[in-house]
Amino acid sequence: MKLNQECTLLQNELRKFAQQVILEKVDELDETCSLPFDNIKQLAEMGILGAIIPEDMGGAALDTMSSVVSLEEISKVCASTALIIAVHNAFFAYPILKFGNEEMKKKYLPKAALGEIVGGFADCSTNEVKVKKQGNDFILNGTNPFVLNAQANGPIVAFLPTSQENEGFSAFVLDNDIPGIKRKGNANIIGLKSAGIGELVFENCAVSQNALISAENQGEVILADGELVFENCAVSQNALISAENQGEAILAEVQNLGRIFVSGIALGIAQGAIDNAIKYAKERVQFEQAIINFGMVREKIADAITRIEATRLLTYDAAMKRDANENFSQAASMAKYYAGQSAVEITTQSIQIYGGYGYMKDYPVERYFRDAQVINVLCSTPVDEKENIAKETIG
C-alpha cells in the first residue's frame, strides 16, 4: 500500500527516532515500570502529542492514516510509548475536541497538543463507581481498577454512571488537582509496563458539571489501565463534557477511533517481534548452519508476514475510511480483532524462533509477547469485537 509523501516522511522520521532514541532505554523502562517521559517530551516536540488536534489549537492535525503509521513505527520498538500517545489522542483529546464546549477545548487542547499535559482515560460506566448528584456537583465513590495513562499525571476523561434508572452515563474531564483523587502505580499487569497503567483513587472528590463532555448519558463499556478509586469524590457540573447522560454515544465514537489506533500498535508489536526474530535466526547457528535456513523457521516467518500484511491492510483501510468520512465502525472492529489476535500469535511464535533464549529477559521478544496480551484486550475483548462485526454485517 502506497502512503502519501507527508505520511512517508513522518514514517521515516519516527522510524529513525524509535531506533536511535526509544530503543536505548526500552528494556530498562519495562523492568522498572517507569514511564518514558523523555520519549514523550521529544515526541511532543515532533508534534505527535497533538496528532489529532487542529492546527489553530497548536496541534499537528494529522489524518488518521498518518497517526496510525506513527503509532506503528513507535510500537515496533516500544508499545508502551505508543499506547500513551494513542490514549492521549483518541481517548483524551478526541472526546473533548468532538464533544466538549469551547471553554473546555481552550483549557485542555493547546496544552495537550504541546504535551504539557498528557491526558488519561477511565471507563467507570459499568463498574463499582457510584455517582450522586449534589447541586451542581457530582459526588464520586468507588474504584476503577483499570485506568489508561493513569500515571501520566494529566487530566483524565472519565465515563461515569449518572443515571441509575436507565444505566445512563456521562463523560467528564477530571482535573488532576481535584481534591480527593489519588493515583497509584500498578506494576501488576503482564505487559505494557511503561504505559502508566495505574490506579486512581477518589476520596471526597468533587467534579463540576463543567467537566461534562457533551450531554449526560452517552457512554458505553471500556477498558482502561490502572485503578481509579472514588471515595466521596465530588465532581462539579463544570467537568461534564457535553450534557449529562450522553456518555454512550461519545464512548462509541471514542472507541471506534481507539480501535484503529490500538490496531496500529498491535501491528507494530507483531512487526517488531518478527523483525527481531528474523535477525536472531540469521545469526543463530545450529546443526552447522543459520537456523533461518530451516523450513520450520521459514514457515513461521511466512505465516507472520502474511498475517502482518493482512493486519496492515485492515488497519489502513479503517483509517482511510475514517479519513474519507465513511462509516468505519465495522472496519475498525475487524482491524482491532485481527490485529490483536495476530500480535498474540506472532509474538508467541517469535519466542519459539529464539528457543530458550526467547524466554529470557536478555532478549526483547518476551516483552513483545507480554505487551501483545494487553493490546489484545484493550478497547474491547475479541468477543466484543466479533459481536460488533456481526452486528454491523447483519444490520
Partner: protein, 385 residues
C-alpha cells in the same frame, strides 16, 4: 472423565492435591515475584514421599512409573508450574541413573534421591547446543582414575540447588554424538561452579543457571554405562520424560480454565454464546490433552517399543494447548485477565516454557515427522516385496 486410577494412583493424586492446595498455593505468588527456589517445600515433598515415585522399589522408591509422575506433576502444576518444574527436574536428572547406571551407582545415589535428601538435575544444554544437542563442547578427558571435565552448561534447571547431576560431555570429539558420554557428578567435586542466574519470563520459582566445569575431576567409576552412549541415553531419557512435561502444561491449562470459568460465572458472562463456544473448545482440548498424556504414560510404563513419536505427541499438544488456553482465557476476561490478581498472566508466562524446554515443539515435530517417514518407508518396502 474417568481414567480408572488404581488405589495407589488415587492415593498419590490425593497427596499431590493436598500438597498443591495447602503448601504450594500459599507461597506461589511470593516465589514468582522474588524468583526464589522453594527449597524447604521441595524437601518437605521429599519427606512425604514425592520423590519415591521416580525411583524403583529396590532402591527405596515406589516404582518409577511415568503415570505416577504425570498424576503428581499435573496436580501441582494446576496450582504453580514454577514449583512443579522445580520438583519434576529431579525425574529428568535421575532418569538416566535409574535406567543406565550400574547397580553400584544406583545403590549409592538413588536411595538418597528417593527421600529427597539429595536433589538431582540434568545438564545437557550449552550456548551452542540447544536444539542441536549433539553439538556440546564440554569435554571429559580421561586422566588415570579420573575424567577431567571442562565446559559450560547453560539454562540448567535447579543447577545451584542440586546435589547430584547427570552431565553429558564429549569423551571423543571426533565421533560427534557417538563420542558423548554421561557422568554422575556431585556438586562437591572440585572445579564446579554456578554461572549467571537467568532472569526468566516465567517458572520463576525454578532457578536456572549455568553449570561451569573447570578441570572438574570426576572419578572414573562415575561414568554412566559405556563411553560414547551418553547421547543415546539422553534421547531415551527424553522419550520417557516428555509426558511429564505435557503434564506440567496440562496442569497450567486446567488451572487457567478453572480460574477463568469461575471469573466468567461470577461476572455473569457465561450466558454469552461467543463465550460458551470458547469455553467448550477449551474444555474439550484440555480433556484431549489429558487422555493423550495418560495413554502415552501407560504405554511407556508397559515397556512398549518405539515410544518416541507417542512421547512427542504427549509434550507437543498439551504445551500448545496450555499457551492457547491461557491466551483465550485472558481474551475472555478482558483487561482484568492481564492483572496479577486474577492469576492468568502468571499461568501464561509459565505456560510459554512448556513449548520450549526439553526439546522445543519444533524439535518434537521433527521427531514425529521423522518417525512417520520411517514408518511409511517400511510400509512401502513391504508393499514392494
Amino acid at each position: 472423565m474417568e481414567y480408572f486410577f488404581n488405589e495407589k494412583e488415587k492415593q498419590l493424586w490425593q497427596k499431590a492435591h493436598d500438597i498443591a492446595e495447602n503448601m504450594v498455593r500459599p507461597i506461589r505468588d511470593e516465589l514468582d515475584e522474588k524468583a526464589e527456589f522453594p527449597l524447604e517445600l521441595i524437601k518437605e515433598m521429599g519427606n512425604q514421599g514425592m520423590f519415591k515415585i521416580i525411583i524403583p522399589e529396590e532402591y527405596g522408591g515406589t516404582g518409577a512409573k511415568i503415570m505416577d509422575m504425570c498424576i503428581a506433576v499435573e496436580e501441582i502444576s494446576r496450582v504453580c508450574a514454577g514449583i512443579a518444574t522445580a520438583y519434576s527436574v529431579g525425574a529428568l536428572g535421575s532418569g538416566p541413573i535409574v535406567y543406565y547406571a550400574s547397580d553400584e551407582q544406583k545403590k549409592k545415589y538413588l536411595p538418597k534421591i528417593a527421600t529427597g535428601e539429595q536433589l538431582c538435575a540434568f545438564a545437557l544444554t550449552e550456548a551452542q547446543a540447544g536444539s542441536d544437542a549433539a553439538n556440546i563442547q564440554t569435554t571429559a578427558r580421561k586422566d588415570g582414575d579420573y575424567y577431567i571435565l571442562n565446559g559450560v552448561k547453560q539454562f540448567i534447571s535447579n543447577a545451584s540447588v542440586s546435589d547430584v547431576y547427570t552431565v553429558l560431555a564429549s569423551t571423543d570429539k571426533t565421533r560427534g554424538a557417538r563420542g558423548i558420554s554421561a557422568f554422575i557428578v556431585e556438586n562437591n567435586f572440585p572445579g564446579i561452579s554456578f554461572g549467571k542466574e537467568e532472569h526468566k519470563l516465567g517458572i520463576r520459582a525454578s532457578v536456572t543457571s549455568e553449570l561451569v566445569f573447570e578441570d572438574c575431576r570426576v572419578p572414573k567409576e562415575n561414568l554412566m554405562g559405556k563411553e560414547g552412549f551418553g547421547f543415546i541415553y539422553t534421547m531415551r531419557n527424553f522419550d520417557r520424560a516428555r509426558p511429564g512435561v505435557g503434564a506440567i502444561a496440562l496442569g497450567i491449562a486446567q488451572g487457567a480454565y478453572e480460574d477463568a470459568v469461575d471469573f466468567l460465572y461470577k461476572h455473569d458472562l457465561l450466558g454469552n454464546q461467543y463465550v460458551q463456544s470458547k469455553i467448550a473448545d477449551i474444555a474439550t482440548e484440555i480433556e484431549a490433552a489429558r487422555a493423550l498424556i495418560y495413554a502415552s504414560a501407560r504405554m511407556i510404563d508397559s515397556n512398549a517399543k518405539g515410544i518416541s513419536k507417542v512421547s512427542s505427541f504427549s509434550k507437543l499438544y498439551p504445551s500448545d494447548i496450555a499457551v492457547k488456553v491461557c491466551t483465550e482465557a485472558i481474551g475472555l476476561m478482558g483487561p482484568y485477565g492481564t492483572l496479577k490478581e486474577h492469576y492468568l498472566e502468571k499461568r501464561l508466562r509459565d505456560a510459554k516454557i512448556t513449548q520450549i524446554y526439553e526439546g522445543t515443539n519444533e524439535i518434537q515435530r521433527v521427531v514425529i515427522a521423522l518417525e512417520i517417514i520411517r514408518e511409511t518407508g517400511i510400509k512401502h518396502q513391504e508393499e514392494q516385496s
